[in-house]
């Protein structure tokens, strides 16, 4: 099981939990498993074609998946995945 950090705008899908654990293997499996456990979450992360939305960063440990192998990036139980969407707030 891999730990996934959920940003506050998406915690309403995870019953307010900041960290959840799901089985992984790679990022697309992880996202499908997130969706199975927390329905609606995948639609916030991926567009209709299943691509990660371009204003969302997904990090495996400290590295963004676009700099790894994208959705095919490997994830082990020892890794920590963080979802970091763009935020505009500053005022």
């Amino acid at each position: 099981m891999t730990t996934v950090r959920i940003p506050s705008p998406l915690r309403r899908y995870t019953n307010g939990q900041a960290k959840v654990t799901v089985p992984a293997g790679d990022i697309s499996t992880l996202i499908d498993n997130l969706e199975a456990a927390y329905p609606g979450l995948k639609g916030r992360l991926c567009d209709e074609s299943g691509q990660i939305k371009r204003f969302i960063n997904i990090f495996v440990n400290e590295n963004e998946i676009r700099t790894l192998q994208g959705e095919a990036s490997a994830v082990t139980d020892a890794d920590e995945v963080s979802i970091v969407p763009a935020m505009a707030g500053g005022h």
Binding site: R5, P7, S8, P9, A18, K53, R54, F55, N57, F59, E62, N63, E64, R66, T67, S82, V84, P85, A86, M87, A88, G89, G90, H91
Partner: protein
């Protein structure tokens, strides 16, 4: 009991100290492997004139601060005083500390001047400034030179809201000499929960004016330039071009992409941050130094309405205080050229969990702004880019 006169002591010490004359010094300073020239005179003497590039470390502090200035005990050091007497004794002292390559400049600054060599009058802090900034200047990473850099710096804040408030206050307190403020809004009662530069009496007043009043109460060294306007593709180059670096504290995506592109195209460092609810993030985009930009991190904006802002989702009032302060730290580091800037690194703060985390942000070789074959070479229509209806230009 035997004793020595001052002159006898000097004669004795001179035998063990290397001396160079001002001609040798001038030649040495023109070499690429030049010695560090340390002027050990008192402040009032130094204020009258100094050799260009000399460091000031008065005799009374020499032994206590030399290790901050000269880390390598074998590095070449030349010591200068007014006439070349004090430096003989100082050189012996440094030799006792293990410095192996110290020379006393014979004849001192007087001989330098008499030889007709160029000198300059140092810029100095005023007595008031010396008192105000003493906790800065005592640190070798800042010093008087660093404080003068801060006083010379021009920093632009996009937005005088949650992030801009602490940033403006700390930049002003730090003595950043010119602070530009871009904000079109007036102060609203709902701002006071977090926008600490504004006061109850500021409600309905333009934010740039309210902020200017607060800063004026804090530090007379600071010149505030208010830009009571929205930053647009039409005015961005003109406004940003006047400053050394930019802090982004805006509240919408079109402005974030606009400010990113303008800073990247102008080669200005952009200290970007955003906050939402209990989360904050901060990073430095500095494409002129080879770092990534906002578009490398977030290639496209979210569709309108998909990512709520603080007005819809809320924000813990103190959170922008933390994140805006981190932006200010990065600004001061860049101005002083100390430390390691957050270039290519994003720091995320999760206030609920009480955790800071750091992520790597890599430059995207295909970035349309800072990549190898840029397609965005001038400012575009950012409302359209973000798919939001045009705001009325005011």
């Amino acid at each position: 009991m035997t004793y020595l006169t001052g002159a006898e002591l000097l004669q004795r010490v001179k035998r063990s100290v290397a001396e160079i004359d001002v001609y040798q010094l001038k030649e040495a300073l023109e070499r690429s492997q030049k010695p560090l020239l340390i002027d050990i005179r008192e402040l009032d003497e130094w204020a009258q004139g100094k050799v260009k590039g000399a460091f000031h470390l008065p005799r009374g502090l020499l032994e206590f601060q030399i290790e901050n200035l000269v880390v390598n005990r074998d590095a070449p050091v030349a010591l200068m005083c007014a006439g070349g007497v004090r430096t003989v004794l100082a050189a012996r002292s440094l030799a006792e500390m293990g410095y192996t390559n110290v020379a006393s400049v014979a004849g001192g600054f007087g001989a330098w001047k008499n030889a007709g060599f160029p000198f300059e009058t140092p810029r100095l802090l005023t007595d008031e400034q010396r008192a105000r900034y003493s906790r800065h200047t005592i640190m070798p990473e800042v010093g008087e030179d660093g404080q003068l850099k801060l006083l010379d710096a021009k920093v632009l804040l996009i937005g005088v809201g949650g992030l801009g408030s602490p940033a403006a206050i700390y930049l002003a307190a730090a003595g950043v000499g010119t602070i530009g403020l871009v904000d079109f809004d007036v102060v609203d009662a709902s701002n006071l929960q977090r926008q600490i530069i504004h006061r109850l009496s500021s409600i309905d007043r333009p934010k740039v004016e309210s902020a200017r009043d607060t800063i004026a109460q804090l530090n007379p060294d600071v010149k505030v330039v208010g830009h009571r306007a929205q930053i647009t593709s039409q005015n961005a180059f003109e406004i940003i071009g006047r400053y050394d670096l930019v802090l982004n504290g805006s509240d919408n995506f079109p402005t974030r992409y606009l400010v990113n592109d303008a800073c990247a195209l102008l080669g200005k460092p952009l200290i970007d941050a955003s906050v939402f609810r209990f989360d904050g993030q901060v990073t430095v985009y500095d494409t002129a130094r080879g770092g990534p930009c906002y578009r490398c991190q977030y290639p496209d904006p979210p569709p309108p309405g998909e990512v709520p802002g603080c007005a819809e989702g809320g924000v813990l009032g103190v959170l922008p205080g933390i994140i805006g302060s981190l932006q200010t730290v990065e600004a001061i580091k860049l101005i002083l050229e100390v430390g390691t800037p957050l270039v290519g690194r994003s720091v995320q703060y999760d206030a609920l969990e009480g955790e800071f985390r750091e992520f790597r942000i890599r430059k995207n070789p295909d970035c349309p702004v800072c990549g190898q074959n840029p397609t965005v070479t001038e400012l575009i229509d950012y409302q359209e880019f973000c798919g939001v209806p045009h705001r009325q230009a005011v």
